[in-house]
């Protein structure tokens, strides 16, 4: 370099172009794949929407009548799972971030992450062989003593393969994801806020109430939504544990339960043929759209939160 180059811009070598081009292509492939998921599912769903509904399994009067129990069961089981998982996850997240001694906190986090590492089919096997038989006495007691309450109306399931059992297993499965996000958010609380609260004489719980929870509220909401999305799409546990019927019911302890979209696909897809395959794919498309919306909103909330968390 004896002569001064006229332009201060870096020389663009062919290798540079190739490399940066490759990275752009890789990124675009991801976006294309997501679009392809929607397009291909849609393309294969159309036959089920236009066909005479009598050809579908169970001969419903319309496609939407076919979908309604599935959609209801999916949302109902995921909602029950979230109802159980959220308070427990909040407790664990607070325990790890603000209560446990700092030295063991990380280890406790690993232990909870272990739950996330267990494959869903193993959870299914555990749910059907261990949890379901063990929980039957509780259901019998509930139906005998609280049968007047619509959620526990008799008859009781003799096998324990009810939607409540499914929801319990789903709750265990989504606890790690909710806990992980809540923990991150709680740890981001400005230390000065916490110390200020403690210095004014607040107990630890009052400090959490005043400093940690208000700061973490958007994070908690999106963590709950991500957990909900995971519970909506969970397949194997539902396929193995639930004893499904085609109806819409709120009853938690009966042997007739609303099926879920994902569980229904897993149970029927291997033997399905003709237009029933398209019907299953159409329900899959509905599941995809529901989870996509929930995840997008949750991520939007988290990302907006990231921008102003410059407090720490």
């Amino acid at each position: 370099m004896t002569t001064v180059t006229p332009s201060p811009r870096a020389k663009l070598r062919p290798a540079d172009r190739i490399f940066s081009g490759a990275t752009v292509i890789a990124g675009s492939i991801i976006l294309a794949a997501l679009a392809a998921v929607a397009i291909f599912l849609l393309a294969q769903s159309v036959p089920a929407l236009v066909v005479d509904p009598a050809e579908l399994k169970g001969s419903p009067s319309s496609f939407w009548e076919y979908v309604a129990p599935l959609a209801f069961g999916t949302v109902w089981s995921a909602f029950l799972a979230l109802l159980m998982a959220l308070p427990i996850s909040l407790g664990i997240a607070l325990f790890i971030s603000h209560y446990a001694p700092r030295r063991v906190a990380q280890t406790l986090g690993y232990i909870i992450d272990l739950l996330a590492a267990v494959p869903s089919v193993v959870f299914g096997l555990w749910g059907i062989k261990i949890l379901a038989p063990a929980i039957v006495p509780l259901y019998t007691w509930l139906v005998d003593n609280a049968g007047w309450f619509p959620l526990f109306s008799p008859p009781v399931s003799g096998t324990g393969r009810t939607i409540l059992t499914v929801a319990i297993v789903l709750a265990v499965m989504i606890i790690p994801i909710i806990t992980a996000i809540c923990r991150e958010v709680f740890l981001q609380t400005p230390v000065l806020h916490e110390e200020a609260a403690l210095a004014l004489g607040a107990t630890r719980w009052e400090m959490i109430q005043m400093a940690v929870l208000p700061f973490g509220r958007p994070g908690i909401i999106s963590a709950a939504m991500l957990g909900l999305g995971r519970a909506l799409g969970e397949t194997m546990v539902v396929a193995m544990v639930l004893s499904p019927a085609v109806l819409i019911t709120f009853v938690l302890t009966g042997s007739q339960n609303s099926p879920t979209i994902a569980g229904n696909i897993a149970l029927n897809f291997p033997e399905a043929y003709g237009v029933n395959v398209n019907a299953l794919i159409a329900t899959g498309l509905i599941l995809f759209i529901i989870t996509l919306i929930i995840n997008s909103v949750a991520r939007f909330v988290i990302n907006r939160r990231k921008a102003f968390s410059g407090a720490n």
């Binding site: 490399f19 890789a26 675009s28 291909f40 407790g91 089919v121 897809f269 794919i281």
Partner: protein
């Protein structure tokens, strides 16, 4: 304890009066567990049923939550009582989450060990009815499909994360970041359905089942995990390293290949290992697109291919007339899966701990 408390005997400390001593919560917790253990033990003896230690532990913990609130309210007042109640509730939540984990690991270990033998790892299920047989065909299938999924997703995921950290600034980068996050929440069965519709339309076979489709479905689930973890790791590389390299006249692509990636390779490997651990247990997509078989199949591009999770599901769901051998195989498969996943997690953490560069953080 008496030796250390002796000097302050007789002196009333106004700061600690009206407070519960430090051992009180622990004594209450132990007492509650003991009381419930005795109560449930007596009930079990009276009704001649099995003693359920898990239930006793759980009810004992709940009893402790109530007791600590009452005791603290009487001695310390409502604010401290609330504080102690929340502290104990938070610990209870942790214990509640541990119960299923411990129960699951224990049952998988107990039920899985009887068939965790040589035959299980050296034979397939071809022509096996009832006892015997193994999961070799499923293990081979899992290894091939997960390996193929890794081959697809690592280049795409790594290049995308490089784009996000080193090149991307505009709308495309923002869109990719957002949709990668959204993709982490795609239900696994939808990934399987996508692979099925995609290959069914391309090949024109409406009932297509083959291993490569399974690999594509798995990589759809794996790519976002790889992108996120690699992106975090690339961001940790100090800018000074890049600037030093540019100052020496090294082109950008060589800087990335020779400086940025070697610095963060430990973290990237950890992320990839965790991503493999995440998809190796996926059942639903492989059930849809790879199907199940009882024979060995080494060819990813033709015929049905068994995988370990589907093997577990299939052994449970379609047993023969004598159920027990099928269940034993299912539990042994579950044990194998858990061991594989735990080993991958352990390896990932070890890589992260041993090879990570010492950054002043």
């Amino acid at each position: 304890m008496t030796a250390t408390t002796a000097p302050t005997e007789g002196i009333v400390n106004s700061l600690t009066s009206g407070r519960l001593p430090k051992w009180a919560p622990w004594a209450l917790l132990g007492g509650s567990w003991l009381a419930m253990g005795v109560l449930f033990g007596l009930m079990a003896a009276a009704t001649e049923s099995d003693f359920n230690p898990v239930l006793a532990l759980f009810v004992g913990t709940v009893l402790f939550d109530v007791l600590i609130f009452i005791v603290a309210y009487l001695v310390e007042g409502i604010r401290q009582a609330k504080n102690r109640l929340v502290t104990s509730l938070v610990m209870t939540a942790f214990i509640i989450a541990l119960l299923p984990l411990v129960s699951l690991l224990a049952t998988v270990l107990i039920n899985g060990l009887p068939r965790f033998d040589i035959v299980y790892f050296t034979e397939s299920m071809r022509n096996v009815v009832g006892e015997g047989g193994g999961a070799l065909h499923a293990i081979i299938g899992t290894l091939e499909m997960t390996g193929m999924a890794t081959l697809i997703s690592v280049p795409i995921g790594l290049l995308t994360s490089i784009y996000l950290v080193e090149y991307g600034t505009g709308t495309l980068a923002k869109a990719i970041t957002f949709f990668v996050d959204v993709m982490t929440g795609i239900p696994s069965i939808v990934a399987g359905l996508f692979a099925f519709t995609f290959f069914a339309l391309i090949t024109g076979d409406p009932g297509i089942r083959f291993g490569f489709g399974g690999a594509v479905a798995l990589s759809l689930l794996m790519v976002p995990v790889v992108v996120r973890s690699s992106e975090e790791m690339l961001k940790l590389v100090p800018n000074e390293l890049r600037e030093a390299s540019y100052a020496l006249g090294v082109p950008k692509w060589l800087t990335i290949l020779k400086i940025v990636i070697p610095t963060s390779i430990a973290g990237i490997t950890t992320g990839i290992t965790l991503a493999i651990a995440r998809v190796i247990g996926e059942t639903a997509p492989l059930l849809i697109i790879a199907g199940y078989t009882t024979s060995m199949n080494y060819d990813l591009f033709s015929d049905r291919m068994m995988s370990l999770p589907v093997f577990v599901y299939n052994q449970y769901a379609n047993p023969g007339s004598d159920v027990q051998p099928y269940l034993d195989r299912a539990w042994a498969g579950a044990l194998t899966l858990i061991l594989i996943v735990m080993a991958l997690n352990l390896v990932a953490r070890l890589i992260a701990r041993i090879f990570s560069p010492k950054l002043g953080r």
